[in-house]
Amino acid sequence: MEVDLSPLFEQYPLLREAATAFAVIFVNFCALVILIAAARERRRGDHRWIKEGKGYMLSCGSECYTLGAAEILIGRHPCADIRFDDKEISRFHALLTLSNGKWHIEDIGAHNGVIVNGVRIQQRCRLHQNDVITIGKRHLTVIKGVI
């Protein structure tokens, strides 16, 4: 079963370089394809996310806010994902969360509270299409962006 190939390298001095280059090229090619695949996965991931989050968005007048993460912070704080610079709105006002394909809203210590469809919520509240969230003077409507 044993085959000694060492004379090959002596006979063809370029063979070792060729074999090394061959290995390097294929590994690099593989790396390149992985990169391309990762870039495609990004778009696919976006679509998966739309599916996961039902494509819900919040519309406030002419503005429209997409929900790009499982936790969306609404408030006056500069770090908030949906930021309103109104005095009536607390720095950390409300938190939208996604679980099991359902969006919920939660009051995280807002002074003026979070009102959904005219009712001030006391605990986590599930959101449906066309629900209206009132935060301070703002009215946010849950709309379905993509189906």
């Binding site: 090619f29 679980s99 599930r126």
Partner: protein, 422 residues
């Protein structure tokens, strides 16, 4: 929801490419060593691992294939490297640990893919952390870092890394829970992180395992940075100056307190001391110089006879036999793992914390290893994830890779079922 219009590159196709890349490397190995039992064993192991891996991935899930594919590619390459250093001998142990780390990756993915659940398990992570700390304190030899079980030695400080990363990550929910003691407002989670950092830093100092210290500091630093970003109005100049001053103060304090051997290491000139303290680095640098761009040839290296050739100075060992180009390429491939989250970003705070923590651990560890062995920074004994030999480090790296996969393919379900919804 209509089906996605973007066709992904299919998983089997990617894994076929991995298979071809490994085959190309094996061709070089076969040409170098001829055909004998060891070559066949190595080829069979690496190639069948690719096939089995692809089948498993096909069955379990088909999302976020980047991490899995890169992991299979790297572990196969690593097995080939480790088996060929200084002559061909199939490194069964290393191969087994590679596979184990792949399995660990899937397990840790399963555990952490749900950010809500993973964060709810934080008390468990704290418990694990302190159990490991106690293991280091009491089960390792005097100031050692290994637990010797007779048939195998475990390095608990490696397993602290993934647990620490789990502790580092935090969600906005946790950050909003404030407690108050004596008029002083604080976030319990942040306080715990600080405590854990101090404990682990002190422990590493005590153990003289200063190689791992920067890794933990970096992970904790990244975590702190993320938390500040969540909650600060804006990062004021005063705060930055204050933090910088603190950092400098700690550095000076550490420098003054550093044991003699550390200070020695920080200013030693390796070329003046080629036979004792600088021995490994001198050999490593010379080996890279001898290897050139395309190496001396597989199995022709001599660096393997130097201590830690398969772990601490493995970069040089690869460069000597396979060439600097291949060595750099391998390092860049490992970087693909933390880089993966740049393509599919995490969708929850906890997962983004995990991803940054893993990136900090991986990159700092690689920097310490590679730049240390090449004399750009002081030389410390740390490993390159997935490339260096060493069971504990391999398993821990597998767990960390699982976190990255979790960040890319999250499952956001169980909070609702647990709470029963509204």
């Amino acid at each position: 929801m209509a089906k996605s219009s973007v066709k992904p590159i299919s998983h089997p196709f990617l894994l076929l490419l991995v298979l071809i890349a490994h085959t190309a490397m094996m061709v070089l190995v076969v040409l170098s060593f001829g055909v004998d039992a060891e070559v066949i064993k190595l080829a069979a192991a690496v190639l069948s691992a690719d096939l089995v891996g692809s089948v498993i991935l096909q069955i379990i899930h088909r999302e976020a294939c980047t991490v899995d594919t890169v992991l299979l590619l790297i572990t196969g390459m690593s097995t080939i490297y480790q088996s060929c250093f200084g002559g061909l001998e199939f490194d069964v142990k290393h191969f087994a640990f590679c596979m184990a780390s792949f399995v660990m990756c899937q397990i840790s993915y399963a555990v952490t893919r749900n950010p809500y659940r993973a964060e709810k398990l934080k008390p468990l992570w704290y418990t694990l952390f302190f159990i490991l700390v106690f293991c280091i304190l009491f089960l390792t030899g005097s100031r050692g870092i290994w637990i010797d079980l007779g048939f195998i030695t475990i390095q608990p400080s490696e397993f602290v890394k993934p647990v620490f990363v789990l502790i580092c990550a935090s969600s906005i929910h946790t950050q909003l829970k404030k407690s108050e003691i004596a008029g002083f407002h604080f976030v319990p989670d942040n306080l715990m992180l600080l405590l854990c950092t101090v404990v682990i830093a002190g422990l590493q100092w005590w153990c003289r395992d200063l190689g791992s210290l920067p890794t933990f500091i970096a992970a904790a630093g990244c975590a702190m940075l993320l938390r500040f970003c969540y909650l600060r109005e804006k990062v004021s100049l005063r705060l930055i100056v204050f933090l910088a001053a603190c950092g400098v103060g700690v550095a000076i304090f550490a420098w003054k307190l550093a044991p003699g051997y550390v200070q020695e290491r920080l200013h030693s000139d390796i070329w003046a001391d080629m036979s004792s303290t600088g021995y490994q680095q001198v050999k490593a640098l010379t080996a890279i110089a001898e290897g050139g761009w395309f190496g001396k040839g597989v199995g022709n290296g001599t660096l393997i006879h130097v201590a830690a050739a398969r772990t601490d100075i493995v970069f040089s060992t690869i460069c000597e036999e396979w060439g600097l180009f291949t060595g750099m390429m391998t390092v860049v491939l490992v970087l693909f793992l933390p880089g993966a989250i740049l393509t599919v970003p995490p969708r929850s705070y906890y997962h983004s914390g995990l991803a940054l923590g893993v990136a900090a651990v991986f990159i700092v560890q690689m920097a310490l290893n590679i730049f240390g062995s090449c004399n750009l920074i002081p030389f410390t004994g740390v490993t390159i994830p997935f490339i260096s030999q060493g069971g504990s480090s391999m398993l821990a790296s597998g767990i960390l890779a699982g976190f990255l996969k979790a960040a890319q393919a999250p499952v956001l379900t169980d909070r609702q079922t647990q709470k029963g919804g509204k």
